[in-house]
Amino acid sequence: MTMENVALEVKDLKTFFHTEDGVVKAVDGVSFNVNKGETVAIVGESGCGKSVTSFSILRLIKAPGKIEEGSIIFENKDLTKIKESQMRDVRGNDISMIFQEPLTSLNPVFKVGDQIAETILLHQDVDKKEAKKKSIELLKKVGIGRAEQIFNSYPHSLSGGMRQRVMIAMALSCNPKILIADEPTTALDVSIQAQILTLMLDLKKEFGTSIILITHDLGVVAEMADKVIVMYAGQVVEESDVFTLFKNPKHPYTKGLLESTPKVHELEDELKSIPGSVPSASNWPKGCRFYSRCSMRLNHCNDNAPELLGDENHIVRCWLQNEEVVKQSEYAK
């Protein structure tokens, strides 16, 4: 894989929140690449740092949060270092974002069409009339009939699915190279979810946009992703292509996640879950962060933080991947 193929490179990203109760290390050394035209899914439980990671890319982190370390390389620029004015040129233009709540993500006092046209006017050298024309075309492209009419509607008069289509139209209005979708279907009805996902896939094919998909829904991952990054407690714990991950998950947490997805064809009464909860982000354990919930933990894991191990196609942050450690240490109670 050559560097030319890489659309975005996140290296050792650390985003911390300086709260009154101490430093919350929400993202603690996350690295990954997004290739051109690739869909990368970031999965994990709430609070694992996946949303903070995606907000960090567009520098949407508000005080008391701060990107402490690391770099986010996009087109030879480090997004963590460039000036705010340069960052504004990237936002909505090269990298755009859609959010979880289409209801609250659109400004209630502006017509949806004007909200799309605003993005076009900000980044493209066109007049208002042209921007309106383009906005209507975009609305048609995301599958909205009566686009001229919807252009003049306010967000509150549209359904959730429609609003998310508007958000997608807005995000795609400047042909971004990367689209970040933060739980784009979580707030929608199941029947609408599939429509939105299909729409995103179609648009990705058409524009060659890379997608970073933040989700906790493994069904969505299987449907959409080329590559999967599993996050736990502010770190990447496993990364591989989607087929390998589903077929051969190596991290006990990933296995737990896959097992806790309901399966219709298996006649089991009980839905499996991972016991316990994520440790506090202001005080991560010294050893493996999954230790307290792990069903396969070794004595070694309690005091020693595991590194990412494996080859470029499949990396895992788990001591079980280190044969020597497994030989020398015993399973903990």
Binding site: L58, L60, R88, R91, S96, M97, S105, V109, Y154, M167
Partner: protein
């Protein structure tokens, strides 16, 4: 919309009736109206004659009926002091009070909106603390005291502004600042708290993620959402301004409704008091209705039904 307007206009009727009721009984609460009209050494016979001439010897409800039918015709009786119909005297004073209220409101808005927005953006900064302190001070200063201080500074020491009367724009400056200060203090706090809440909203994050510039982010995407509460308080404060005018107009010898009302109260000129209260009440009712109708312009989510 037309249906809503009709409903709201109909709702005014009971309110007006209630106000008429209060205004009617005002006369009896302050003492025997007949005794007020005649000299202290008047004979009992004269008192009784005047009482029956004014139909004041009839049952209360009947008297109230007379009163309502007169009010509907715009007749509040004659002013003792001026010897003329009360309503025209009150209406004649109305424009100068409205002018004062209007300029005070403009001053209040011009101070409150920028101060509130800056205070919200720079939350907990020195600027915010300064603005907060200043608005508490503004609210706490009694208007008669502020008025006298302004007269002292600008009228007596620097001699750059007239301290009483009306007629030119210069005459409006000091009374408007006096009246506008308290309103701006309250409005600043409101703008600040609303903007703080708005800046946390998801659509602000969306706007940032689109690459919207800071000024447009705050004014267009942010402040437009704060307009409904700001307009509400603006219209509600007009009644504060009118009542505040009682004191301010007296301090600045400004010939408005407030001054007239204060004089009428001290002279027990009941017809003027009744007419003035009635006019102010109608004004407040209509302004509130106007505010309700204006919301729709600024917030498309509001529906009238």
């Amino acid at each position: 919309m037309a249906k809503y307007l009709r409903k709201r206009l109909l709702e005014i009727i009971p309110v007006l009736l209630f106000i008429t009721f209060i205004v009617f009984f005002l006369v009896f609460w302050v003492g025997d109206p007949v005794a007020l009209m005649l000299p202290e050494d008047a004979k009992q016979e004269d008192i009784e004659n005047l009482r029956s001439a004014l139909k004041l010897d009839e049952p209360m409800l009947v008297q109230f009926g007379y009163f309502v039918s007169n009010v509907v015709q715009g007749d509040f009786g004659k002013s003792f002091r001026y010897g003329e119909d009360a309503l025209p005297i009150v209406l004649e004073r109305l424009p100068s009070t409205l002018t004062l209220a209007f300029t005070s409101m403009i001053i209040a808005v011009l101070i409150a909106i920028p101060a509130g927005i800056i205070s919200a953006i720079r939350r907990n900064s020195a600027t915010d603390v300064f603005v907060t302190g200043f608005s508490i001070l503004g609210k706490a200063m009694p208007s008669f005291w502020l008025g006298i201080m302004l007269i002292l500074i600008f009228g007596v020491i620097f001699k750059i502004l007239p301290v009483s009367g009306n007629g030119t724009w210069a005459h409006l400056v000091l009374p408007s600042i006096t009246l506008g200060t308290a309103v701006s203090a309250e409005m600043t706090r409101l703008v600040r708290s609303n903007m703080l809440a708005i800046l946390q909203q998801d659509y602000i994050r969306t706007a940032i993620s689109k690459g919207v510039k800071p000024l447009s982010l705050i004014l267009k995407h942010g402040f437009k959402n704060a307009l409904v509460p700001v307009i509400t308080i603006m219209f509600l404060q007009i009644s504060t301004l009118v009542s505040g005018a009682l004191v301010t107009e007296v301090v600045f010898a400004y010939p408005g409704l407030g001054q007239l009302l204060v004089q009428a109260v001290s002279g027990r000129d009941m017809a003027i008091i009744q007419a003035a209260i009635f006019v102010v009440a109608i004004m407040v009712i209509l302004l509130n209705l106007l505010a309700d109708l204006l919301y729709k312009v600024f917030d498309p989510r509001i529906k009238y039904n």
